[in-house]
């Protein structure tokens, strides 16, 4: 496998949103245009059959990256390469459709992502119809197969989404994502609306499907414990930048960026009775007026002069090739 190009390559992805007031208001108030950089030169690869996870707090840009990777949103700069092919430069409609078939997405809320007026078999069969994968007579059989694959009964196809619990609905969303035989699935907080006992069912199902079908995942979550369970490689986002990218074990055994360490310390531990987490002062700053230099410096325990002035570039550390954007990281 090694030596092959990774299935997914995100190259210097940026997303800048214009959040200015309307022209007339701006002229009257003599204001400049204002821009919000939601994603800032993000760069990562996902090898085939692996799970890359993005973790970060609200406003870190993790969902925007997910949307750009599936082509729901055009990056301001940078490229998304799938099998070496730039997703946004395909102009041929037929090729575009063929590319779209290979990429699917699972959303956070299984309540908002399923059409309440459609029967489950209609929902799951939709990608098959949209991509014209099977003659209409064979769709029902394929839907039954998919229902079985995600652990639902064949008869469930006749029901409507409201007849299911949250966990079962997420299974329906997974079956729909699988319907077009994709190679790559972006999972945006797929279990954060679910209870723990149901969450583990869905996570285990996703892992089993990955093994069975050789799927590649981009897994987005704010929950480090879920990320640790699912990911092969992890990218930590802070205010739109990847501050650290490393293998799972490297990241958890030896977190190098101060923000990664802070996240790990702040996450509640089920076995740390009576512990009071090390308190980090402050909250995520306003993304429109980001702090100078390293965006994390106002909350960082280390902070040198350089951190206030210069934006840290990504450097590679250790035999594990962890990529860290911190001036003060030495090993």
């Amino acid at each position: 496998m090694s030596g092959d190009t990774p299935l997914i390559q995100a190259r210097d992805l940026s997303a800048v949103f214009d959040v200015s007031k309307p022209w007339l208001n701006r002229m009257l108030a003599m204001e400049q245009k204002r821009f919000l950089t939601a994603v800032d030169t993000v760069d990562f690869d996902i090898p085939k059959g692996k799970t890359f996870a993005l973790v970060g707090e609200s406003g870190s840009g993790k969902s925007t990256i997910g949307r750009m990777i599936v082509g729901l949103q055009k990056p301001t700069t940078g490229q998304v390469l799938i099998d070496g092919q730039n997703l946004f430069s395909i102009t041929n409609e037929k090729q575009k459709l063929a590319m779209r078939r290979r990429i699917q997405m699972i959303f956070q809320s299984p309540y908002a992502s399923l059409n309440p007026r459609w029967r489950v078999k209609h929902i799951i069969g939709e990608p098959v119809r949209a991509f014209n994968l099977l003659p209409s007579g064979e769709i029902d059989k394929r839907v039954e197969e998919l229902l079985d694959q995600v652990g639902l009964a064949k008869s469930d196809g006749e029901k409507f989404p409201h007849e299911f619990s949250g966990g079962q609905r997420q299974r329906i969303a997974i079956a729909r994502a699988l319907a077009s035989n994709p190679e790559f699935i972006v999972c945006d907080e797929p279990t954060s609306a679910l209870d723990v006992s149901v969450q583990s069912q869905v996570l285990n199902l996703m892992k089993a499907l990955q093994r069975e079908l050789g799927l590649t995942y981009l897994f987005i979550s704010h929950d480090l414990s879920v990320i640790r369970y699912m990911a092969d490689q992890i990218g930590v986002l802070y205010l739109g930048r990847l501050v650290e990218v490393a293998d799972r074990d490297t990241l958890f055994d030896n977190p190098r960026h101060p923000y990664t360490r802070m996240l790990m310390d702040a996450a509640p531990h089920i076995d740390a009775f009576g512990r009071t987490a090390e308190i980090v002062s402050g909250e995520i700053p306003d993304p429109i007026n980001k702090p100078s230099g390293c965006s994390f410096h106002p909350r960082c325990e280390l902070t040198a002069d350089q951190c206030r002035r210069e934006r840290p570039e990504v450097r590679v550390f250790g035999p594990e090739k962890a990529r860290v954007a911190c001036h003060l990281c030495t090993a």
Binding site: G166, V196, A267, P268, I270
Partner: protein, 335 residues
């Protein structure tokens, strides 16, 4: 005084009459809270944990009602008080912190106005004294430049700062008990850690008791002294937090702990509890957990188990009933 608990809840039942029958979101729940203690109510959605909190502070919406049991605050019954008397307890002696700080603050009033109004409702203070006290409270919950920020509106605060304001409001009348219902669920982890540390500090310094309602086992482990695990409106297991979480006895607690992923320790396949929490309209006969339990045997399908002491905790499970101990051992041997 120090021995008798601050709050005693015994055999509490909450019922909602509906067209399709009477629903019981809370079914014979009982626990004590001592002064200065943090007690956790943990469970998945539909377990009845929020409903317990609402019942204690008298905020059950009609047609729901408390149809059985007692709630005593310092020995005095508060579950059957008329609304007029309840108003003196609510906010004054028992305060509540809700999940979403944005919806629990009035967007049209400054933070100061809301604090001063609450303070003067419950304490005989002049407007100036109340304002001074409001600033003091904001300082205590860790809002920087409190004297300047007091005239800001809620939307001018960040999520974490808003939750601090809500906690300041809850503290306004020096309550003996704070009920915090998922106080950090809407917040980021770094801010969650700040808010939990704040609650713990207030509890320690003021001797205020806290009932912490949450679905997060990690928060329970780090914050609470004792915990009650709820399932389908009943307490499955209750005891000292360390005891319940590190040596769980009820099969539901065991399953819950084993299905919770962790950032530390060895990585093993998460176990899963099959199925999901039963609907209130279709709670099975006997133990509500029987359909999902791998250890269920005949009595579990007949009668509702009651809490019995098991290794320092109390557990409602037929597996630990002395009358069935023998059956259990023989079935264990055959495994």
């Amino acid at each position: 005084m120090s021995n008798s608990p601050l709050l005693q809840v015994s055999d509490l039942i909450v019922e909602f009459p509906t067209r399709s029958g009477v629903l019981r979101p809370v079914d014979r729940v009982g626990f004590d809270v001592r002064a200065g203690e943090i007690v956790g109510l943990v469970g998945e959605s539909g377990a009845g944990k929020s409903m317990c909190g609402s019942a204690i502070i008298g905020l059950i919406d009609r047609p729901g009602r408390i149809s059985g049991g007692e709630i005593r605050l310092n020995g005095e019954r508060i579950d059957n008080l008329p609304e007029e008397r309840l108003r003196h307890i609510r906010g004054k002696r028992i305060a509540m912190v809700f999940q979403d700080p944005l919806t629990s603050l009035n967007p049209l009033m400054t933070v100061g106005q809301q604090l001063i109004q609450t303070i003067r409702t419950h304490l005989p203070l002049s407007a100036n004294d109340a304002r001074a006290r409001a600033i003091g409270l904001l300082e205590e919950v860790g809002i920087p430049a409190a004297a300047a920020r007091i005239d800001a509106y809620p939307h001018q605060f960040s999520g974490g700062m808003r939750q601090r304001v809500v906690i300041a409001l809850a503290l306004a009348a020096e309550p003996e008990l704070i009920i915090a219902d998922e106080p950090t669920t809407a917040l980021d982890v770094s801010v969650q850690a700040q808010i939990m540390a704040l609650l713990k500090r207030l509890c320690r310094e003021r001797g205020t008791a806290v009932i912490l309602i949450t679905h997060d086992m990690g928060v329970i482990a780090e914050t609470t002294d004792r915990v009650a695990v709820l399932y389908a409106g009943r307490i499955a297991e209750i005891g000292p937090t360390r005891n319940v979480l590190s040596t769980p006895s009820h099969p539901y607690t065991v399953g819950l702990m084993a299905s919770t992923p962790s950032t530390t320790g060895s990585l093993h396949t998460l176990s899963q509890i099959p199925g999901s929490m039963p609907n209130l309209r279709a709670i099975p006969k006997g133990c509500a957990f029987n359909a999902r339990c791998g250890k269920a045997f005949s009595p579990c399908f007949q009668d509702i188990p009651v809490l019995e002491p098991v290794e320092g905790s109390e557990v409602a499970c037929w597996l630990y009933d002395p009358a069935y101990q023998n059956t259990k051992e023989t079935s264990g041997a055959s495994e």
